[in-house]
């Protein structure tokens, strides 16, 4: 039953990401729910499930963007790995540090994605200043809201 519920939640997150990106993105800025949730899962469940889910969500994000297939899978997976590794040093269970981590990792994500573009697409894939500045903030807010929902549900 838990597996089914988890699958439904994963699919719902993917659907939310697609719908928001398609209809509510302004000037290219939209929260990366899947990225934020990957870090949240890493903080709450450890790096291995976060990496697996993050890699799958990354592939989905690659399909949505379709400019550098495999880049998001690698970066989402790395975000889950890094968050999972640092959760022993930093209290990522708390909402504040989690939001800060998501904010920083989002910036690292943009820089690494550009670098991967330089290697595999022969041009630095720069998302633009507005998405690069707004998206980490949106990701942090999304991660904080998701963490609060997670905690509320667990408290019941």
């Amino acid at each position: 039953m838990n597996a089914v519920r988890a699958a439904v939640l994963l699919a719902a997150a993917m659907l939310l990401q697609w719908w928001w990106s398609a209809h509510l993105a302004y000037w290219g800025a939209a929260p990366q729910f899947l990225f934020a949730l990957t870090i949240l899962i890493a903080a709450r469940r450890g790096p291995v499930p976060a990496m697996l889910i993050g890699w799958m969500w990354g592939l989905y994000a690659d399909v949505l963007r379709a400019d550098l297939f495999g880049a998001d899978a690698l970066l989402y997976m790395l975000a889950g790995y890094v968050a999972g590794q640092f959760r022993s040093q930093v209290d990522l269970e708390a909402t504040g540090p989690l939001a800060a981590a998501v904010f920083l990792l989002s910036w690292v994500y943009f820089l690494l994605r550009g670098a991967l573009g330089s290697i595999f697409a022969k041009s630095f894939l720069w998302a633009g200043w507005i998405p690069a500045l707004a998206t980490p903030l949106l990701n942090a807010v999304a991660a904080a809201v998701a963490a609060e929902l997670w905690d509320t549900r667990r408290a019941r």
Binding site: P47, M51, D62, F69, A73, M77, L78, Y81, F120
Partner: protein, 300 residues
Amino acid sequence: MQRETRIAHYVAVCLAALSLVLLSLPLSSPVRAFKACAAYVFDPLPYEGEQGYQRIAQAPERVRALLTADVQNRRLQEELRGDAWLRATTQSLTAENERLRAELGLKTPAALHPLWAHVMERDPLRWYSSFSVDAGEDRGVTLNDAVLGRSSDTVVAVGRVVDVRRRESTVLLLTDERSAVAAYLSSGTLEGLVQGQSQNSGLLLMNYINSEAKIVPGDTVFTSPTSVTFPPDVLVGRVAAVNPRDPFLASQSVEISPASNAAALQEVLILRARAPIGREYETERPVAVSSDAAASQAER
């Protein structure tokens, strides 16, 4: 904890390798194609939205066409009302003209009965010479009836009927060398005889113009009131060139570019001298024209 970290390392290495393989492969184009296909199949909104947008986008165009048609309809109705007034005025003037002619003792001109006919056949060997029309004895056409045409909303002289059969007739064009029509120049009302030319079938020759007259290329030429066949003031053509004067002749001649393009004519107006037996083919009221026979010698 050590075990989990070790597993995380393995998983990270495996997934990173897999990701790098995916990055190395040229998968962006196939993924885009798959995405477009999936979007078309699973997300009908773009397709339906496009269809709906097209329908809505065409709506203003249809409304505009409707409004344009309405405006044209109103304008045509006004023109029709004006035509009715013009017809009444014409009838009044015709009646007045007939009364004055009667008082002066002038001969009342014979009424002509117009009839539209289609050009049905052209002889390739005599392209500028004649053509056949689908009106003959059955519709009241008689020999030497005048044939007019339309050129840019202007009625122009085309030729005359030279052969009448049961259901068709042959029209001899003005450009045929056997044709001739009395005409005058608009600049000085100088009369002359417009004839077809055998050498240059596309142009007419206007002869017997006063040798002292100053003629300018571009002058318009109309049928003369002295013409037997044609009603007066029907456009024949324009002066294309003035021929050099012959000092031994008392007249000069000019080349006329005919107003009617015989090759482009599809319908012609035959002015029947005789009233038709039945009125089923009548298109207009009879037209009164002057037909003073005094100058009939000028025209064959």
